[in-house]
Symmetry: none
Subunit: 216 residues, 4 copies
């Protein structure tokens, strides 16, 4: 719980390494204590660094937290956008790839999910998040809607279904956080796959998927 990152610290390190070191420590602390329970002392302690380091690299705590949220958002965005930009994929593959990007183990580890919701719970970071992802989120929604239209839905139904898909994904994250013993990554993907099967019985088949998904 403590001796994880200590060794990493050398007297001098490139700016980017230090920043990431602090972001990693912040992720760990927020996951454990929530935003209101996170102190800079805990973060620097977990990182094995001194109190002054935050002002050196991030100016202040708020910037560090924002950078942490940015890091999470970027990580997720890169993943679904890579899928979206991959022209070799079929419509079905692309749709599933975008959806399941949120459930890649690197993205939805128990620790990171807790951090996402920690930020969502705080008005100021929620606002910051909205501004930050404004364009990308719309973009992802539009991408999903477009794919649904290609699969045969009319625009209206496609938009509603996009909402369903995205909300279900979010809700599964919440369930994984609140009831980690009741819901896991595999089940979450299963639920989303089933939803696609229900909507497009001749495109997605209950029999086929989950294993292939894990491989993806």
């Amino acid at each position: 719980m403590d001796g994880n990152t200590e060794l990493k610290s050398r007297r001098f390190a490139p700016k980017e390494v230090r920043k990431q070191q602090l972001i990693d420590a912040t992720l760990a602390v927020i996951a454990e204590k929530g935003v209101s329970g996170t102190t800079t002392a805990q973060v620097t302690g977990k990182a094995g660094l001194s109190a002054g380091i935050i002002s050196l690299h991030f100016e202040n705590k708020d910037n560090l937290l924002k950078a942490t949220l940015e890091y999470l958002a970027a990580e997720l965005q890169e993943r679904w956008q890579a899928v979206n930009d991959d022209s070799s994929l079929s419509v079905e593959q692309k749709l599933w790839g975008i959806i399941s990007a949120s459930f890649h183990p690197d993205i939805c580890s128990y620790e990171k999910i807790r951090v996402w919701f920690a930020f969502f719970g705080e008005a100021q970071y929620r606002a910051f998040y909205r501004e930050m992802v404004e364009t990308f989120d719309t973009e992802r929604g539009n991408a999903i809607t477009a794919l649904l239209v290609q699969l045969g839905l009319d625009q209206d139904r496609a938009e509603g279904t996009t909402q369903t898909i995205e909300s279900l994904a979010d809700g599964l994250w919440l369930s994984m956080m609140l009831y980690p013993h009741w819901v896991d990554i595999g089940q979450s993907q299963q639920r989303l796959w089933e939803l696609l099967c229900l909507h497009f019985p001749d495109r997605f088949s209950l029999a086929a998927m989950p294993a292939a998904v894990a491989a993806k």
Copy 2:
């Protein structure tokens, strides 16, 4: 935002009235500032009462926050349980009643949703919540599963679908909080109704419902 401005009264109000007054103020402040941004001074200020009042009625801030979460949980629970206990309802009505309880305007006001997620973001209140609702949450899940079985699903599929329904409901709450201009109560109910239609096309019909629901 809800008219409970300053100076409600001073000396002498029944203990329960004062407690509710403080819980109401806490809801308002947490919604606005998040848990980490909520100070006792803001709560008592919003309630039009003095600093000492919290220790008088709740001993300390932590207990006040827990009481606030308890209030939210009880309010929701009473609503779906009333439906569940109503033997005059058909299986379909009961299923929909339980699901849509979460979307009654009294339950999922913008303010209250923000408070729910504020608490979910804080490790300690998440833990408290889990302990508090341990039995009831399972109960609701089991009730939904049982109804789904009565509608023709086998046990396994019913459990998976319960997870889908509950997670979708949670995710819609999150969407209503993060994107209040993109998702509202009506749309949320629509999405859940559609899900039921997809699963049980001869029990639930796209044509019929949402309006009736709002009336319910």
Copy 3:
């Protein structure tokens, strides 16, 4: 520890009864918690009365504490002065009577000793005490000195010996408080009696005393 005085409280009681009830409760609380640890809530709770009662009978806490100290001082003073005023006593009896007044069980109970020292430790009550007993204390010192002179000491030696006697008595109180298992009332009287024997071997005899003393 708690249910001692509760029953005493009737809805109405003569002023003096209430005052004494509060003083008794104050003695108990100070003995247990010291002056800095004594709150009016503890005192009124121990007395089985309400918060407002102190302002009614003593105006404020400070006055209650002063009244408590006055009570202790008066109790002690009455005792030694009764001896001093008793013209039927011999010089030896009077000397011993004044000295041992401080060690009567009613006066130097473990509880009361702790209260004495609690007050002595607080600058403001020390000052109050000094003013209050100014005359009486000098009076007692003078009485002892006079008796010592009558027993044969010259004025100077008598004054020094008075200091020794009074300080020894005080120090024995302190020992009884700090080390209640090492020093008790009997031993304290023994130590003072021995001192008199040392000074006046033909007036006080090691063989005779302690039992008679207890009887006194």
Copy 4:
């Protein structure tokens, strides 16, 4: 009262210097206001430091007060133990040295005596003191008793006389605090010396001592 006015220095002083600086300030404030009247703000103000410094060096106020009491106790103990460990001293010199250690000006300044009694008046610090000095206090008593036996008393009388000596010393401290104009260090030593003369007329002589003592 002792020249340690504000602004000793700011940034960077060895940890031990800061701690002592705070202990010194605490001594001054307790002497003046008693334990119940001592606030952290007064202590840090007197030390010319900021509010946060206490938590930095002592974690909290309670620990600072305990450290202050420890300091007083250690200071006294070192003094009498140095005498007790000095094998060059005669029995008489050792006995007197141990007794008069308590009356060295560094030990029984008016300020420090007031602090001793301030702590003795507070139940919690009294308990802490007892635990802290448990062994040493017994040790000193035993040392005195052993010396008295070497001077010719039987064990029983020696133990009683030890009690008398120690209590008289304590009582003289109390008198010095309560009546600083009536009792001073010189007189206190005189009283104790007289006691030894009374017990051991051929070892201690009224004529000889007090002056030599002051020199000691």
